[in-house]
Amino acid sequence: MIRLEALTYAYSNHAPIFEAFDWQAQRGEAWVVLGPSGCGKTTLLYLLAGLRQPTAGRVIVDGQPLTRPRPHTGLILQDYGLLPWATVRQNVELGLRVRLFYGPDGKHAPEDFRPDVDILPWMERLGLTAVQDQYPGQISGGQRQRAAIARTLALQPDLLLMDEPFSSLDAPTREGLQNLTLELWSEKKLTLVVVTHAIEEAAILGQKILLLGLPPNRQATIIDNPGAAQADFRDTADYLSLCRELRGRMESNA
């Protein structure tokens, strides 16, 4: 589903963050990108979303080299992703309205886009019906992330990218949304890439964990975590030992 081929990326006039970096993710896998602040996690996600272009090398998604955001890729950011001047409902509709704005041109919207998509089931599924006429500033952080999820999933993506989606939430809300994410992942057969700096979150969400270190990143360090995405994984000894391992690796990387 995703292939990075000798990816090099540097912000202009800065040292490269990725250098001849190779990495692959198969369709349907749940990946977590874990690393300390400043290691390039967000940069990698923006590259995967087609929002930034590689300095050298290629980003290939679903067989196509990326040159622009791809209609079937969904992106959810930590904060500030919702329009403050639009109600929850209008925010959830935003992706569809953008598609209607351009029509099914294959560039901004998929060629097979049909304008009759209904967001109501998503509003209900994510518990947003009661706050649909409120503005983002009036609802809780958890509800805001739910709205962002509804907005993205209403576009029926096959690849879902999330940048620290739950890090500003309190623990119970965060666990609830982590579980919901896994539920939607398996139900919609998504390929999932979640960026985080939280070891616990990586262990819960990532069947596979891509560990980044201080730039430049040259080689992908990958940790398998087959127990992730299973019920009650949080309570197992495997979970604790994985967390310990990840902590050790992050410390030795830094």
Partner: protein
């Protein structure tokens, strides 16, 4: 502020005015009723009306022109740090100049028609709108832009769904802050070199015709224009920017 209180305040002003004009008993302070009569007579026979419409047209044209030029310029400056670094010293210097001192220059350059008045109003509003829209656009979070882009939005959709709604409150705030100044400067400009407009009407009724009720009627008309522009902007903001009022 409730409607009832506003009406009470209006009545209060009228009572004080009436009392003052009774006690002083001077022709230069006619009673409010006489002024109202002159006001409606002027509207009916078109005398006052044509001057009021001339002034209103200048305000509307100057406002429209300044929005049309300042809002896009503000959006561009807000998005480009380089351009902003280049222009901001210039804006910094020109922004606080009281534009009313430019009245004689603008009149010399642009003569006596509508144009110099429209240009004056334009100059007052342009910088105000430019600065507020620029700051608003600069404050749009990059995360917001990126997530809307990830939904498929290109330049046009970003403009429609992000930049336009984001700059609307800035435009309205700028108008609310400076529409009063614009009307004041228009008045000053209309005192010279024109025979149309409320400024001229007020001056001519008072100092040439000695028709004081008509002069006061002109002042009333100009005040009404300022007040209704102010409240009009307020009303538009409530309609177009409801999120600002959601607690």
């Amino acid at each position: 502020m409730r409607r009832r209180d506003v009406i009470l305040a209006l009545i209060g002003i009228a009572v004080v005015w009436q009392a003052l004009s009774k006690t002083l008993n001077l022709p230069i302070l006619p009673p409010p009723l006489a002024v109202l009569q002159a006001f409606f007579k002027g509207l009916e026979n078109g005398d006052l009306l044509q001057h009021a419409l001339a002034s209103l047209w200048r305000v509307v044209a100057g406002t429209a022109l300044s929005i049309a030029l300042a809002a896009p310029a503000g959006l561009v400056l807000g998005q480009s740090q380089q351009l902003n670094r280049f222009f901001s010293p210039l804006i910094y210097l020109t922004y606080p100049i009281p534009k009313v001192v430019l009245v004689p220059i603008v009149l010399l350059f642009f003569g006596i028609g509508d144009l110099p008045k429209i240009i004056l109003i334009f100059m007052i509003l342009f910088f105000q709108i430019l600065v507020l829209v620029r700051d608003q656009a600069a404050n749009i979070r990059p995360e917001l832009i990126q997530s809307v882009r990830s939904l498929g939005a290109g330049r046009r959709a970003l403009f429609r769904f992000v930049y336009l709604p984001a700059s609307l409150p800035a435009i309205l705030t700028a108008l609310r802050q400076s529409v009063g100044t614009a009307v004041a400067v228009l008045y000053v400009a209309e005192l010279f070199a024109t025979q149309r407009g409320l400024g001229y009407y007020i001056y001519y009724s008072g100092s040439t015709l000695f028709d004081y009720p008509a002069m006061y009627a002109g002042i009333l008309a100009l005040s009404l224009m300022g007040v209704s522009l102010y409240f009009g902007v307020d009303w538009l903001e409530r309609r177009w920017c409801p999120w600002l009022y959601a607690n």
